[in-house]
Every structure is written in C-alpha cells, then in structure tokens.
C-alpha cells in the first residue's frame, strides 16, 4: 500500500555534498564509496542495520532475519510480500512486486565478470555452492543467469535460500551490504550499458536528475512502502535516545528531495556549509574539524548557531605495509623482523595523529577497526611505541650500521640500505605522510626514497608486489574482524593480501575465526592474530579515523552510522529552525 510515503509536506529538500565524485548507480559494477551512498538509498538489501543501534545490529529489511542452520551453512530468508519496485517503463506500466528470484538474479550479477570485472564478487565467490562453476563457465561466454545454482535458490516466490561450501556466519552481514540491494532483471536488460543512469529499486528514493560528477538529485520514491523507526531490542545494544525520540512516530521518508553536490576541496565544502548552501556536512576536513570542535566539544560560537555536531570513530584503518617477499624489507628471520620493527619504532604515531590528522583519529593498535565484531578497544600494540633509541639499538645489534661513512645505515653485508616508499599522485594529503616517514626514518639513519606514480600504476604495482613499502587503508564491507584479517591471510597473498604476509599460526587462526560465530574465544584468537602482526610487522598500523559531521539545526534525525552510509531515509527538515531568509530563498528556487 502506498501509505503516506509523502506524509511530509512536499518541497523538503536536503542539500548535501560528496567530497569525491561518484561513478554510477549500478551496484554490481560500481564499488566506489559515493556511488554506494547513492544506491544504498535506492536499492534494498535483504537486511539492514538498525539506524541508531551501536554496535551495528542487523534488522529485517525486505526480509526477516534469516534462519541459520546449526552448521552455519544454510541461510533461509523470507521476503516480505507487498514490496514494489518504483515504476519504470521497463515494467510496461505494471506494478512490479519484489520476489525471491530477484535476489537470485541480483546476487548472480555481483559475480558476473561482464559487470566491469565484478568488483563485489568476493562476497559470494568461493562460498556459495555451485556458483564458482558458473563463474568459470562464464569465462569464455556469457554468464548464464537462467540455469539453477544449487546454493542460491528461490524456494518459492518469497523464500530465498543460500547454501555454502563451508560455514560462514558473515552471510547475514553480506546480505545487508548496499551492493546486494535488489535490482529487477527487466530494468537491467532494458538499459544495457546505460544502466548506471537508471537505478530502479524498491528503496525510499529514486534518481531524479544526474549530472555526472557534479550534481545528483534524489527524490522520494512514490512506490515506497513507507517505514517507521522502532529501536531493535537486543542485549548489549545502545541507542542515541535523543535522536530516537525525534524519529518516534513518524513515517519515513520525510524528505522530498536530496540534492547532492560534488565539492572536492575541503575548504569549499566547509565554506558551503557555513553559508548554508548545504544543510549537512558529513566528514568534515580534519583541519575544520579541529576548528569546529577544538577539544572534542563544539566551539561556543557554533553552539550558538545551533549546529548539530557528531564525532565518531569509523570502521576503517590506515596502515603502512611492507612487501614481505622483498629481499631487504621482507623476510621472517630476526634480522629482517628487526629492521621492520625499527622502522615501526621510528614512526611517531602520536605525532602523526596530532599533526597530520589533527587528532581526528585513534592510534590504531591492531589490524582491526572500531565498530566491528572482534575489535577490542583495550588491546594495545605494546611493541609499537615510538622509540628511536630502541630502533637504533635494534639496527646496531642486527648489523644495520653505516659501513661507508656517508651518514646512512647500510645492510649487514654493507650494501646500501635504501627503502622506497610507493605512493600515488592522486592521493590527497599523502605529502604529509611522506614528509613524516622520511624524517622519522632519517632520524634512525635510514634513507627513504619516494616513488610517486599515477593511481592505477600504483594499484597495479602494489598488487603485483612491485614495491617495498607503501600505504594502505581498508574500510569495512561488513562489520566483522574477518573482513580485516583476510588482508593478512597467507593464501590470499597477491589478491587481497598485498603485503603477502604468510604466517602459519596466523593462517590457522584465521581459518578458525572465519567459520565460527562471535564469541569470547574467537575474540581472544583475534587478539593473538593481532599480536603476531605486531611482532612481525608486515603492517605498521597507523590510525582509525575519527570523523566529524555537522548538521544545521533544521536537519532532524541525523546520526552518522558506522557503515558509512548516509541513511537519508530517516532525515527530515524542520522549517521552524531555519532562518526565514534562507527558507524564503529555498522556496523561491
């Protein structure tokens, strides 16, 4: 039923921005974050996260929470009847109801290499029974969507069943990822290569106009069923009660239009927010964040303006990685470990965070990120404390001394010790990092060169193992430690494990945690894995970013979510809070 999807008085427009351009709105083909922000409001996955619950908690979306077989290998979803796609010529004027078969189709699209190499295929590849065979068959022909897959079936119109080769308790998370949002086959087939511009989903919004990499306008989807918010009740889950209060009793979406501009310079978006050209400023530039809330408290003058201010750690991590097969910086013998450890001791994490990140980050202690299962805020990297004296001592002991008297340390065999840091020219702000690394290493007598290449060559070089030392970052695909630890899993070397770290104990533990549901024992195994990483230093963990988000007083219901998605669904505008002149200006536009 189309009940009050437009409950709100029409004309409510939220102005916001993206700091980087989107690429397109086909979930199967686009894996960049900002495309995701848009299609997360258009397409609906089976499950979703509760908007306000922390830690992230799954709640039903188009389907109820799945039935999970005791062996953790079979997942059965019941899709709610009466959910419709927004109207589109592809449906020939008919209302089109969502069915289980749509998800079967959608998930298969995610692994079809024809979709630009299928950037999301890791979510199902190697897991679902019968799917890998189908992918292999598609290698020399078209992907066959029609033949049945044993592990991915619509049991009836509303029942979807997923069967796995091995237990994986992350499947519910995966089925909550925006990329698994459901698409309709008619639409995909109708628009062909133009599908990026024609997202047709069941979600609260639909695409109104799109000027690529400049301006995206979403409007409320009139076919949307409408939703209300009631907090999930589960143990250990907390809420922002204040926001919950404001959402109480309303039917969403309340907004008529969402107007998104691409504003790539931090200064520009900050200025735009100040002049109320945008209502919402997620992810404030670090400098501005500091300005707005110098001591983690909104500055007085902004409090007076009534700004809403949020500061939260994100579920991501930045790190530096060594190429473990490299003859100089790689290797597992004590002398090799010592070199990497010395470098990690020369890295002043605290200073990095205070100067480069303006304190807008947590000092990372393990390869894990906050806000996810298995993250332990108490865990400390006891081996990674900044200590140049100790670093020098270590280098001395293992023979990395200055042989030729040029002031720089050499390898134990007196060959010159030169390390090259690989970075890309399109990485914003990498200069600071490089300056810091070069200085830090110079302090302990190691010369660091930098090699800057364009972004694509950088990605390729890193992937192909043509580097010694490089930066890296990872954000969650789903809120579980496994999603992070996979980056260091030996058998993943060269695919997701760019540093090619191989450690038998680590790998054994990984295999274990990958197939078990969360538990205290599992958490201890994760800590052990972190200790191994901190001891062998394939990575120097750097930071978990803290983001500051701002909203003007007339934006109601905003709360940043750890999944990094905008959740426009729950936002509203309170005209009464808006200055009259601004309101008038908005009305006239």
């Amino acid at each position: 039923t189309i009940q009050g999807a437009r409950a709100a008085d029409s004309g409510k427009t939220l102005y916001t921005y993206f700091e980087a351009p989107e690429s397109g709105f086909d979930p199967a083909r686009n894996s960049d974050h900002y495309s995701g922000e848009v299609f997360s409001s258009i397409f609906e996955p089976l499950l979703t996260y509760d908007y306000l619950a922390r830690p992230q908690t799954l709640v039903p979306n188009t389907a109820d929470l799945p039935e999970i077989s005791p062996d953790g290998m079979t997942f059965t979803y019941r899709i709610r009847p009466g959910i419709y796609f927004s109207s589109d010529p592809a449906f020939g004027g008919q209302r089109r109801e969502l069915t289980a078969a749509d998800y079967v189709y959608t998930f298969q699209r995610l692994v079809d290499p024809a979709n630009r190499g299928a950037p999301w295929d890791f979510m199902f590849k190697g897991k679902v029974i019968g799917l890998d065979e189908k992918i292999a068959a598609a290698a020399n022909g078209e992907f066959d969507y029609d033949s049945p897959v044993e592990g991915l079936q619509a049991l009836d119109r509303y029942t979807l069943q997923i069967r796995l080769k091995r237990p994986d308790y992350n499947i519910p998370y995966i089925t909550a990822a925006p990329a698994t949002g459901v698409v309709a086959r008619e639409v995909i087939e109708r628009y062909g290569d133009d599908i990026d511009a024609h997202p047709v989903g069941t979600g609260p919004f639909r695409l109104k106009t799109w000027e690529r990499r400049n301006h995206i306008v979403l409007e409320a989807n009139p076919e949307y069923r409408g939703t209300t918010y009631s907090p999930v009740e589960r143990d250990g889950v907390e809420f922002d009660h204040e926001v919950a209060q404001r959402l109480q009793g309303k039917t969403f979406p309340r907004l008529d239009t969402i107007d998104i501009r691409i504003i790539e310079t931090a200064q520009a978006s900050w200025l735009a927010f100040q002049s109320s050209q945008i209502d919402l400023h997620p992810r404030l530039g670090a400098n501005y964040a500091l300005l707005v809330a110098p001591n983690n408290e909104l500055a007085e003058k902004y409090v007076k303006l009534g700004w809403h201010y949020f500061r939260e750690a994100e579920a991501d991590i930045t790190y530096y990685q060594f190429f473990m097969d490299d003859p100089v910086v790689g290797g597992y013998t004590p002398d090799k470990v010592a070199l990497r450890r010395a470098i990690s001791l020369a890295f002043n994490q605290a200073k990095m965070i205070s100067v480069v990140r303006n304190n807008q980050a947590l000092a990372a202690q393990s390869p894990l990120a906050p806000q996810i299962n298995g993250y332990d805020p108490e865990f400390r990297n006891v081996l990674g404390l900044y200590d140049p004296a100790k670093a020098k001592a270590m280098l001395d002991i293992f023979g990395y001394v200055d042989c030729d008297g040029d002031g720089w340390r050499d390898l134990p065999d007196c060959k010159p010790l030169r390390i090259t840091y690989l970075s890309s020219s399109s990485q914003g702000g990498s200069r600071d990092t490089e300056e810091m690394l070069i200085k830090g290493l110079a302090d302990i007598g190691i010369r660091l060169d930098t090699d800057v290449m364009n972004f694509s060559d950088f990605l390729k070089a890193r992937q192909a193992g043509k580097f010694q030392f490089s930066g890296g970052a990872w954000g969650q695909d789903y809120p579980d430690a496994e999603n992070f630890m996979q980056l260091l899993y030996g058998p993943n070397s060269g695919v997701v494990n760019d540093s090619r770290f191989r450690n038998a104990e680590f790998d054994r533990l990984y295999e274990q945690i990958a197939s078990e549901p969360p538990s205290d024992a599992r958490n201890e195994r994760l800590r052990e894995m972190s200790r191994i990483v901190n001891a062998y230093v394939p990575w120097i963990v750097e930071a978990n970013r803290i983001r500051t988000h701002l909203a003007h007083p007339w934006v109601v219901g905003f709360k940043p979510h750890p999944d990094n998605m905008p959740h426009y669904l729950y936002l509203d505008i309170d005209w009464s809070q808006m200055p009259a002149d601004l309101h008038a200006r908005r009305e006239s536009e």
């Binding site: 351009p21 690529r212 504003i263």
Partner: protein, 312 residues
Amino acid sequence: MGRYFIRRLWQTIPTLAGVILLVFILFNLFGGDPAAILAGKIVSPERIATIREQLGLNEPLWVQLWIFVKQVMTFDFGDSWSTGESVADIISQKAPVSLTIMVQVWLLDAIVSISLAVAVAYRRGSLTDRAVMGICTAAMSISLLLYVVIGQYVLGYTLDLFPVLGWSDSLWTNLTTYAPLPVFLLLLVSIAPSLRLYRTFIVEETTHDYVRTARAKGASENRVMFVHVLRNALIPIMTNMAMQLPGLFVGSFVIESVFSIPGLGKEIVAAVLRSDFPVIKAITIYLAILTMLVNLLVDLLYSWLDPRVQLK
C-alpha cells in the same frame, strides 16, 4: 577563397595525425592502466585482465590506433571508461560550463584592456604609463593560485561579497551568483598581459608614417587615435583574441577545482588521473580541431580586417 579553404583543411590533416599519434603514444604507452582503477577494492590480476579485455586494451597497439583513427573520423569516441557516460555527452555538458565563465572573462578582458591600452598608449612614456605598465607586470607575475586562495577567502568568505563557491543548473543564477567571483579573479590575471600586449600593438602603430600623414591632414588627436591607429591595431588585437578562443573551452582548471565548477578543465585533469582514455582522446581531438579552425578563422579575420592580406 573556396580553394583556399580546401587547401587549409587539407593542411590540417598532418597536424591532426600528429596530435593523434602524440596522444596515443603518451597515454597508451606511458599513461596508467584504467583497468586497475576500475577493478575496485580488490585489484586481482584476473579482474584487471577481464576489464582490459572488455575495454579493448588487449588488442595489438596498431589495432587500437586504428580504432582511434576511426573514432576521430566518425567523431564517435564511445563511452567514458570510468563512468560509462558517452564522451560526447560529457563534452557537451562540461564545455558550456567552462564557456559561461570564460566568455565573460574573454569579453570583459578585451573591453577593459583595449580601453586602458588606448589610454596609456596615448600617454606613453608618461608617469601614468610607466605606473600602469609596472602594475601590469606585477599583476602578471603573481600566481593565479595566490589570487584564488586569497580572493576566495577574503572576498567570498571574510567579506561575504560573493558566494564562496558553487554552480547551479540555471544559467541566470550562474551568471549572477556564482560566476562573478571566478570571473573577477580570472580577470585580475588576464587583463595585465592583454593590456601590455595591446598597448604594444597600439604604440607600434603610432610609430608608422601614416599617423604623421593623418596629423598632417589636420585630424584631431582623438581621431588619429581611434580612426587611424586603433583601426590598424585592431588587426593584431582581434587576432590575439581569436587565438584565445580554444582556451575558452578548456576553462581554467584551477578556478574550476577551487570553485567546484563542473567545467571541462576539471574534467581533463580528472580524466588523466583516472586514465580515462576515451575522454582524453576526445577532448584532445576536439580541441585540436577547434584550434585549427580558429587558426583558419584568424586568417579569415586577418583578410577581413587587413585589406593587404589576400587568401590564396
């Protein structure tokens, strides 16, 4: 005249071929691999291979070159690799945006600098002249980026005379609201060199004997300046203005990035950073053709303004 055109168009072919070759070599052999960027978070070799296959990057180089040549001949550059949008659409969306700013700059620059040039050329050698020229040199020497950083901060932010940045879909809003500050800042940098150049042209003309003749005829100084000198100086001035035309389409990427104006200049830089070869190819070729057309136009203009020049 007609034959002249045909000959000139014929002559553009080698240049175009050169441009094709240059762009092809620079970006195919030395540019980045777009597949790596398109591959997403996990850049596996197989995925890169698949994407390369889909983009046609695994074809032999000469086949790719031939495809490029065919694209140039049919003016169909296909779709952007990174966004899938048709390249023709990208250009037809972005170029007008750059033009909205640049045409204003172009016209205002011409009006202001020609009038000032006449004024100072008339007083050449005087203190005013020297001062204006000195100011021009100074203005020219300072980096555009400094103007932009300071201009945006002071005029847009501190004094709030202009919106700090932005762009809308309405031409009118753009012209009245968003364009003025960028236009003003660009004018600051562009007037100085034009003014100097135009002054040189005018002063150069005043040294000619026909000026003396005009005075000997009894023409007033104003008449000498405007009817005789300026009419002749307009030949190089208009030529210079015409030469600026291709640049108008490119826009100023500094301005466009800082003010978030979705123009072609920003697009070019973005395309290079993303190794979006179809976009790069198309923009280069379009601009090369435009440049050549403008050269032709300049010749026409010349023959129209200067009776001594005949097109053969």
